[in-house]
Symmetry: C2
């Protein structure tokens, strides 16, 4: 499928705030104040599995994911990074990156389907977005 046919899934759009456009993916902050949680969505229409991407795009996604993971762990000093492509609810391919702390509410379980989202306050959201926009605009590779 062509990149120009890509349209972000409505639910992903509702639940997130856009941070940046990287070469392959939209970079989205999940509006859940319980964990630093950023999602990569490759701008490829009709794709729901990593293996459905072209080989070049798979490699690009890996590079973006590695860059993002390292960045998040360095900014938030997390105990562990959780990376996952699930897509049972939203079929459009998206890759979660969640910074985990031994003190967070879901630890050591996964964050998905565990605790209802707790949105950021307006002020905190603005702060988080500003911080992450700043770092995610760094040269990503």
């Amino acid at each position: 499928m062509e990149q120009q046919d890509f349209k972000l899934d409505e639910r992903l759009g509702r639940d997130t705030v856009k941070l940046a456009d990287w070469p392959l993916s939209e970079v989205l902050l999940m509006n859940d104040s319980q964990y630093p949680w950023v999602i990569l969505v490759p701008r490829c229409a009709g794709v729901s599995e990593i293996y459905e991407l072209s080989e070049a795009d798979q490699q690009l996604l890996l590079r973006e994911s590695v860059f993002l993971g390292r960045l998040l762990m360095s900014v938030f000093s997390g105990d562990k990074l959780n990376v996952g492509a699930l897509g049972n609810v939203v079929n459009q391919l998206h890759l979660h990156h969640v910074v985990r702390f031994e003190s967070d509410i879901a630890w050591p379980g996964p964050v998905w389907g565990k605790h209802p989202v707790v949105q950021y306050s307006e002020e905190k959201l603005e702060e988080q977005v500003k911080l992450l926009r700043h770092v995610s605009e760094m040269r990503w590779d």
Copy 2:
């Protein structure tokens, strides 16, 4: 860290059956009859995050993961593949590949931390291992 220092985490060893050795990773069947569930463990000592692998190993892991994911979805005709590196409990880097069905017990939630493991019967385990050893011995790239 050197590959010769690698030792499979004890808990991973207990919960799984080895299917194959691929160029980078051990290929392990999770002994949980509720979902076709295969784990890749790169033979790299002291690594718990994908971004801690060398760039060459990151790419190899991606290729093994893509090959495995496609293979599992084709063998089991799943509705969705879940791929994830969590590691909140077992720190050694390991990459889950779980074939999901809309009819499975945890759908649409994640499988991790949801329902206690239900081990295969001896007979079923042997069958599953035989099937997966057969296909995972195919040329993986």
